[in-house]
Symmetry: C2
Subunit: 213 residues, 2 copies
Amino acid sequence: MTLDPIPELTLRRLPQYYRLLKNLRAAGQETVSASQLAEHLDIHPTQIRKDLASTGSQGRPKVGHRIPELMGSIERFLHWDNRSEAFLVGAGGMGAAVLEAAGLDRAGIRVVAAFDANPMRVGKKLQGVPVMPYEKFEDLVRRMHVAIAILAVPEDEAQEAADLMARSGIQAIWNLSMTPVTAPTGVLVQNADPFASLSVLVRKLAESQAPKA
Amino acid sequence: MTLDPIPELTLRRLPQYYRLLKNLRAAGQETVSASQLAEHLDIHPTQIRKDLASTGSQGRPKVGHRIPELMGSIERFLHWDNRSEAFLVGAGGMGAAVLEAAGLDRAGIRVVAAFDANPMRVGKKLQGVPVMPYEKFEDLVRRMHVAIAILAVPEDEAQEAADLMARSGIQAIWNLSMTPVTAPTGVLVQNADPFASLSVLVRKLAESQAPKA
DNA sequence: TAGATTGTTAATCGATTAACAATC
DNA sequence: TAGATTGTTAATCGATTAACAATC
């Protein structure tokens, strides 16, 4: 089975649908139409039909999609049902925030160990996850065949941490730090890059405040 | 003066150029060509020329752009020279991480106060910024004419915090929490939405691991 | 049946890339 | 001058939206 590459924008919209579906289900709703989703999310209904079609979910004319089945399709399509183990690098505030969030669990990611350069943090637990020293990282990656690492260190240590990850055999880096990092070919990197969205915001604010011609 | 709306993708690429320019400048380089930037960033040179042109920077044939001037153009274009004040809501780990990062200062954002629902945190300082109770938020927004708020609370409190911001007259919300929030028309919201990038990563990893046909 | 909603094919739109004349 | 690099116009590509036949 080969997986077709899917537009990244579709991959980013699907979790939005999922979150909304969860709310609708909680509100007791059983089915939903593309137009209904469209209204809530301000996305074109045809766009939503295409996105949903790519997950393999099938709706019924006049009824729409059954919410639980649709959620299942999205989970499978995004491989949220994969249940993979991950390491967290950086046991500070950012690391704690991501462990607290529901998204990790939903995406099927289980963080089994955290690592930190600061000896004060080593030996403690963060949200129930043991914190270990950097020295143990590579060995554990190889012994446990962990493919995913979450990068949550301060920005001046980010690239260094990414290098350690790549060197240790990590296959995919999710970079939550405030600055993008790079890794050698073969290692997937996804930079959350929060400051990119700040640039957009600052510019949009200026546009909205500029006196109109 | 009216500002043309600029493609969001351009706005997201410009900070990348800026970071690279900073490194090149630190390495003693004085000018740079679009092709050079392109090589480092794996972006098409013509794309870079267009992006740079939209900032108003002018390069010279055979030479390229002078790095300091180019950096200045990007700063002005992104309104990083605006020097605006902002409030931080959520004085936990996420809030601390963003205050530590260089990006805020670079974007001209100065966080003058933080707010937290937890009385344990109120009265302390976070990276030199005083932490106050939620009750003071609205009054201070109006008195100080603060337009930008940074949302850095745990995900289950995010929407509530966004509502408070909108109600208090905040014009632009930069949402760093792990879940997107919404706000009434007229209030700009930019969700960093880190989990969107996780979805992309998990899917790409699955694609790369799937046996080829 | 009538009509709402689906999924798909075609048209449009916007962003990226190619081609090229201008110029330092 | 020759050639590298610019900025811009035209071509391509991909994503979004419109149109519509199928169907519950």
